[in-house]
Symmetry: C2
Subunit: 357 residues, 2 copies
Amino acid sequence: MLYGVIMAGGSGTRFWPQSRITKPKQLLKIAGDRTMIRATIDRVMPEISCERIMIVTGVAHADEIRAEIPELGENMVVSEPRGRNTAPCIALAAYRIAKEDPDAVMVALPADHLIGREDEFRRLLRIAAEIASKSDYLITFGIVPDRAETGYGYIELGPEALKMGDTSVFKVKAFVEKPDKSRAETYLHSGNYLWNGGMFIWKVSAIIQAFEKYCPSVSRTIKAIAQDLNTPRERDAIRKAYECIESISIDYAIMEKASNVLVLPIDVGWNDVGSWASLHDVWDKDHNRNAVKGAFLALDAAGCVVSSPHKLTTLIGVEDLVVVDTPDALLVCRKDRAQDVKELQEALKEIGYDKLL
Amino acid sequence: MLYGVIMAGGSGTRFWPQSRITKPKQLLKIAGDRTMIRATIDRVMPEISCERIMIVTGVAHADEIRAEIPELGENMVVSEPRGRNTAPCIALAAYRIAKEDPDAVMVALPADHLIGREDEFRRLLRIAAEIASKSDYLITFGIVPDRAETGYGYIELGPEALKMGDTSVFKVKAFVEKPDKSRAETYLHSGNYLWNGGMFIWKVSAIIQAFEKYCPSVSRTIKAIAQDLNTPRERDAIRKAYECIESISIDYAIMEKASNVLVLPIDVGWNDVGSWASLHDVWDKDHNRNAVKGAFLALDAAGCVVSSPHKLTTLIGVEDLVVVDTPDALLVCRKDRAQDVKELQEALKEIGYDKLL
């Protein structure tokens, strides 16, 4: 059977002041009229029955996520006492699912990405699930790039491994770190590189094998509590395991080391919605390329992203700004500096404004 | 005796969204911890007893001004049913004062200007009042310019007319319209031009004479209701008079025509606080030249004016912006476009957002 694992551990600092410690990106309606996690669940529900969808999230957000996705069984929202990157999260999910169904296939997806063409996504999900169910391949989705982005890791295609109808699946030649601009240009034009979007499909038995081989420390830690998973003892067991579990990404822990990795190119209108600036590509824009949520009036303003649901926002003579208004904090930021919202939060901590984080 | 006439008819549209139709600039604490009208009254009180200070304002603001300046007699806040520029306002005040004291000297001052050096201002006020009391001169204060400002009218100095101690008073050669930049530069460097700040001192009998001679229409209209001024019939009388009274400035009506005009140069830290941008010169600034009212945190922001008393405002990578937050409207504006706030209000009217005006 196919299981879904939604990785909802993000703290969402990049959407401050709308996102807060208590309200990370996956719980914001930032890209549409649903929260990002709601959209993520809705996207996979046609393929995966809700009793086989698990959400792994931070302990601080578990209750709100349960309320947001009430159709999930309470035991299907698993909380991590602290963020330890993707490898522990995936290992935890894999061992937990394996207890119920050792032959299960699992797809692991971030809770806070956007996908424009959902039918196509589900078609490719079905293909990947079929391959995974009949093999021990570790399959990752590789996103067909449409620009020379320096903010993502890339996957270099190896030779075609197999073909399902018209859809080719490739061996992975290499996982590549975030490139500089000229390398990114080269990658884009070569046609041999895809973005690493952090979406994976495999049999739980295959990923458990890989953990045992390539990341034995995480494997041991989770295996040691496997008998407690999905029992009343789970919470305490996870808390104990996470006290010392290695914080490591699934890419470092497994994907870059394993030899049985395949990549399925997907071109589905993916957007990781990584900052306020990214919403300029997501939201509708007026004739001056202003992307606005809220009442708005401008004289000679262009290319701005405005989120101000509670009042009229007016702009005069400004370009490429991000303006975000909330009841207790206002942000005005050059669009190309939107990543520095993180730095701002460090500064907030320093001056003791923790209540706004 | 010396009477003060405070002209408080301004609608203060240039400080939107903080200023509103119901809350013009003179009623805002925009340049300090007092409203501008409070500061104006406090400035002249050492020279003019409060029972001889009259405020002329729009009917919509009279009650709030009475509450703001409670020491004035209720009859000393005179309301105009509509703005008709400065000449009717001054004629009304002059005829009203003349009823009580035909030999009175009156000083007419805008309610919403800032004066940094108040002692010096009062010293010059005393000099002007003394000259006025002994002559029929119409005296205007001319502000010594410190920059080539294109936003003000200028007064060209004529020959010295008289001297009081070290203080020279000059004949006026000409009132000059707002110049272009190169003319403004010439004016500044010549030393022969002063800014026209709209502050006047004269005997009420002298200005009434001048009205009769140079602006008989306004004179006739006010004279016709003179018997009703400062009586229970005043309000109705003014309402009727203002139905058809000519809307004209005192400069056009009198000053540019009269031959008995003197100008007293004053250098008193004057600022007309004409727009949000002007507050950059008035407020304290941080080491990046940001002038801020409210909690504030910035990364690489410089030269901004921020008014946001209700929440934390954060800026990243922006320069020379005006940011004004209010509970129902937010303005983000390039500082050199601050005058266009007026245009914004026209646009607001057009789209039916009158409630925010």
